[in-house]
């Protein structure tokens, strides 16, 4: 860090008051539309990601309400069977692929670089690319919805229903390629986060000082990298079956129908933890300032995150207990599915211990943490139930399962996420959200959620299967369905108020200051919102809670150039500074590459040759993207 040459301008050489304006000039994105299209600032991209994902949440929520109107009364004719099947497929695919996974990754894209004390995410242009690709995938699905041509095969798209013989039109192709889009963007982000966490941590942030949220994003990213190839193969082979006449899934040609289910759930189950683990990280981050103590059991929590990640690859078959697999295999997967309750329990007990030994402050984020604890524990209990083969033969594919996974996904992930928005909103925007509205939002969402989803457990046991667009009046389900439908609007009102609060606070919320909650981690060490360069000087970390333990002012490292984008590369374990590395400048090519990829993927729904001719513009865009500029070598 000590080397320098005369041609460079190091931060130690400029005056204190000169430093920030010069860093700003170097790191700021361009102005206007061109600047918006070329930016590689992780904060701007993450903000877009988050806003887009929340738009998809709202749209998916509207679909849910439409379904609940249809189901409020038996034999209702509000929706046709065809529309309903499109809507429940889109609701599930949208919530999983366009909301839950992207929003968690987006929170990581925003927060991880700030929490590890670096100036931008690793591979910032790839980051820009991943957003554009995600947006394109979302548009493909929603344009199909608008054209009444949305997929109607369920978010799991089981063959042969989604295969060439029974999946008519382009609907299943749209589903498969939407998956490809979102996988691509998720994989890109996962790689960025792994590299950022391993190589860009602030000096002194050894592995045992990484915030739990960053650990959770790291484990999640590894899950993405391991799980996504399975679904990528699945969706590509499905497209091949449909388009080129391969017979991966055609039993008449010795293909195997169950192969699809193995591939899909080998991805699909870890997917649940890809959504849930970041939420555990968020809870860990929020519970500490609002209990006024560091989170209890740091090591246990990190170990539980890793254990959950590993176990999550060993329980996919519990989605297939009634498919007719050998009983010994099912028993193994019962045991492994139940075993995941142990790391999950560990996390819950650590949170309870934190609350017990701390002095709780009941601000909105904390309310959502408490809501999470209640709801997720319930979801965990029903999770233990569906892990049991005999029990599952009754509840599988019924509303019991619908209730269960909404408890774990909404209770386990969306509650912490909404709390996290209240918690990090001041960091991202510089303004606080309303505490008064926040309490009402929590009350509506919490009560609305339980009133909507708890009765579904009973509906399922009472024999109501999933994915039915209507049910006969003779069966004793109507009263409860009406109750659920009315409650769904309470839940929706909660989310509506949340959006109103967010938009209002953006303009007129109380000004936050750098650290309004008195938190300990590094993202609170810089201004709110953070400047384009994140930190004027890279902080040096000496403890797990740097802002609480620092005796006076946070120590900083110096020696980075201010005339070009530079950041510190550090060692994996101890985070010893190893090198200064330049960080890529703004570029239009990620957008061009994303457009070229979009054209290729959309073309591939219609003709296999699109992959061939579509590769040409992609190759051109990538060549321009990676064209070597004559930048001086990075220095150690």
């Amino acid at each position: 860090m000590n080397s320098s040459s005369t041609a460079q301008v190091l931060d130690v050489e400029v005056e204190r008051e000169e430093l920030e304006p010069r860093l700003r000039r170097t790191w700021q994105s361009g102005k206007g539309i061109w600047g918006a299209l070329t930016t590689v600032d992780h904060k701007i991209i993450a903000r877009r990601y988050i806003v887009t994902a929340f738009v998809f949440l709202a749209l998916g929520g509207v679909l849910a309400l439409i379904m609940r109107v249809q189901l409020a009364f038996p034999e209702a004719r509000f929706l046709s069977a065809d529309r309903y099947n499109q809507i429940f497929t889109t609701h599930g695919s949208n919530m999983m692929f366009l909301f839950a996974v992207p929003v968690m990754e987006a929170m990581g894209v925003y927060l991880v670089p700030l929490m590890v004390g670096t100036r931008n995410i690793a591979f910032p242009r790839l980051n820009a690319f991943s957003y554009w690709i995600f947006l394109a995938g979302g548009l493909v699905l929603w344009i199909a919805v608008a054209l009444d041509a949305a997929p109607d095969v369920g978010w799991f798209a089981y063959v042969p229903l989604s295969g060439p013989e029974y999946g008519a039109g382009k609907r299943a192709d749209i589903w498969a390629q939407m998956i490809t889009f979102t996988e691509l963007s998720a994989l890109a982000v996962a790689v960025e986060i792994v590299v950022t966490v391993f190589k860009q941590r602030a000096p002194g942030m050894s592995l045992d000082r990484i915030p739990v949220f960053v650990w959770s994003m790291l484990v999640t990213s590894f899950l993405v990298i391991i799980a996504m190839p399975a679904i990528m193969f699945a969706s590509s082979s499905l497209i091949l079956d449909r388009l080129v006449g391969t017979h991966f899934y055609n039993p008449a040609e010795r293909g195997d129908v169950l192969l699809w289910q193995h591939l899909f759930w080998f991805f699909g189950h870890p997917e649940v933890y890809i959504i849930f683990l970041p939420a555990v990280g968020m809870v860990s981050a929020m519970i500490s300032p609002f209990s006024q103590r560091p989170v209890f059991g740091y090591l246990a929590l990190v170990m539980a995150l890793i254990a959950t990640g590993l176990l999550s690859f060993g329980l996919w078959v519990h989605h297939m207990f009634v498919a007719g697999l050998p009983p010994s295999g099912s028993s193994f997967f019962t045991a492994s599915s139940m075993a995941i309750a142990i790391p999950a329990g560990t996390q819950i007990f650590c949170f309870l211990a934190t609350l017990w030994s701390g002095r709780p402050i009941f601000k909105t984020p904390m309310l959502f943490v408490i809501g999470f604890l209640i709801t997720f524990v319930m979801g965990g209990m029903t999770g233990v139930m569906v892990a049991s083969v005999p029990l599952d033969t009754q509840v599988h594919d019924t509303y019991f399962v619908v209730a269960h996974f909404h408890y774990v996904l909404v209770g386990g992930a969306v509650f912490p996420l909404v709390g996290a928005i209240y918690y990090w909103f001041p960091k991202m925007t510089g303004r606080m959200m309303s505490e008064k509205l926040g309490r009402i939002v929590f009350g509506l969402i919490f009560a609305g959620f339980h009133l909507t989803f708890f009765p579904m457990h009973i509906l399922g046991l009472a024999g109501m299967p999933r994915r039915v667009y209507t049910y006969p009046p003779e069966l004793p389900w109507s009263g409860m369905n009406l109750f659920v439908s009315v409650s769904a609007f309470v839940l929706a009102a909660g989310f509506g108020l949340f959006f109103i609060d967010a938009i209002r606070s953006l303009r007129s919320g109380k000004v936050a200051g750098p650290n309004p909650w008195n938190c300990a981690s590094l993202e609170w060490a810089t201004a709110s919102p953070p400047p384009p360069y994140n930190f004027a000087r890279i902080p040096v970390v000496q403890s797990r809670d740097p802002l609480w333990r620092a005796s006076s002012e946070l120590p900083v490292a110096t020696g980075l150039r201010v005339d070009r984008r530079e950041l510190v590369v550090s060692s994996v374990v101890a985070a010893e500074p190893e090198a200064r590395e330049s960080s890529p400048a703004d570029s239009i090519w990620p957008l061009v590459a994303a457009l070229a990829t979009t054209v290729m993927l959309i073309g591939s729904m219609f003709s296999a040759w699109a992959v061939v001719w579509g590769a040409v513009p992609i190759a051109i865009a990538l060549t321009c993207w990676f064209w070597p500029k004559r930048t001086p070598e990075d220095e150690s």
Partner: protein, 331 residues
């Protein structure tokens, strides 16, 4: 949470009083479903107890006044012990539940036996049942209404001809998928005679919601009589109106898809209609079977069950009346 618990209790009470032998895992009418309900109750009891213990700990943590006297280190050690004990108890409960689940799944006697094998085939969106006779002439086919003898294990072979379906009659047993290219089996056993509703549980396309079936459990004597009556070919009466109805059926595309044994109608893509008038329901549980609903179904199947594979066959009202009258005689 509290309001949810109260509401759920009220709902549960209302539900239990409301349902009688319909289609419910909470209302078992055979040994398999009874065992399953016991497992459900064991799990619900254990899980609810754990849930309330955890919630008690949560409430206590939030409400307690922390005493500042304890030294920090001693307190942390104390909590570590409690958390460790909690994790170990979780593991113990998990092992217990796994063993419960395993033993009840692997060693029930009703899984062993097998008697008359009935072949069940799921089709978009109805059920085809093939009853094997001891020799092939005694076999017959029926649709959407499965008759079984009371007090016996009845083994079903499950196959799918198009997409995946799932056979589920919750009052008698858990569900089992019908997967193209695979042979699955399930055993039904009804303790009392009665009619048990079931429906397809795996999403199978447009009319998945309207793919119901009924299991009619009969005393052995009544069951034998039913078998005998179903084995007989159709007898077409000499009545001129009925003969006219038969001719309409044969002249129109009907006969291309449906079989009526004893006539020249030999189509196999639709349900066998040899004894259609003896069935309780039409169109896989959509309509109660009556002369009126049968006529309505023939006149406009696409409004009653949109997207199903029965086309609208143009007929004059006279033809419709005749063909309905003919089908009504097929008891």
């Amino acid at each position: 949470m509290k309001q949810a618990a109260i509401v759920s209790c009220v709902l549960l009470a209302g539900l239990l009083s409301g349902c009688t032998g319909a289609q419910s895992a909470l209302d078992p009418r055979g040994p398999a479903a009874t065992d399953l309900l016991h497992i459900i109750l064991v799990f619900v009891f254990v899980c609810t107890s754990v849930f309330f213990l955890v919630m008690g700990a949560l409430v206590w943590s939030l409400l307690r006044k922390p005493s500042r006297e304890d030294s920090e280190g001693a307190q942390e050690r104390q909590i570590s012990v409690v958390v460790t004990v909690a994790i170990l108890s979780t593991a113990a409960i998990i092992v217990l539940l796994t063993v419960v689940s395993f033993t009840s799944d692997r060693f029930p006697e009703y899984k062993e036996a097998s008697s008359a094998a009935i072949l069940v085939r799921g089709e978009q969106w109805w059920w085809r049942f093939d009853y094997d006779g001891d020799d092939s002439s005694l076999g017959f086919q029926t649709a959407n209404e499965l008759h079984i003898p009371v007090g016996q294990d009845v083994r079903l072979r499950l196959q799918a001809t198009d997409v995946i379906h799932s056979f589920w009659v919750p009052s008698l047993a858990g569900k089992q998928d019908l997967v193209p290219g695979r042979d699955n089996t399930i055993t039904l056993h009804a303790e009392r005679s009665g009619i048990y509703r079931g429906q397809c549980a795996e999403f199978c396309g447009l009319q998945h919601a309207h793919m119901a079936l009924e299991v009619v459990a009969q005393e052995p004597e009544a069951y034998r009589q039913w078998l005998d009556s179903q084995r007989r070919s159709a007898v077409v009466s000499e009545d001129a109106a009925i003969v006219a109805g038969r001719d309409v059926f044969m002249r129109k595309p009907c006969a291309a898809c449906h079989t009526i044994r004893g006539t020249e109608a030999k189509g196999t893509s639709g349900p066998d209609l040899t004894h259609v008038a003896s069935r309780r329901m039409l169109a896989a549980g959509v309509l109660q079977n009556s002369a009126g609903s049968l006529a309505a179904w023939i006149a406009d199947p696409q409004t009653i069950k949109p997207g199903n594979n029965m086309p609208l066959v143009p007929m004059t009202s006279e033809e419709l009346r005749q063909v309905t009258a003919f089908l009504e005689t097929l008891r």
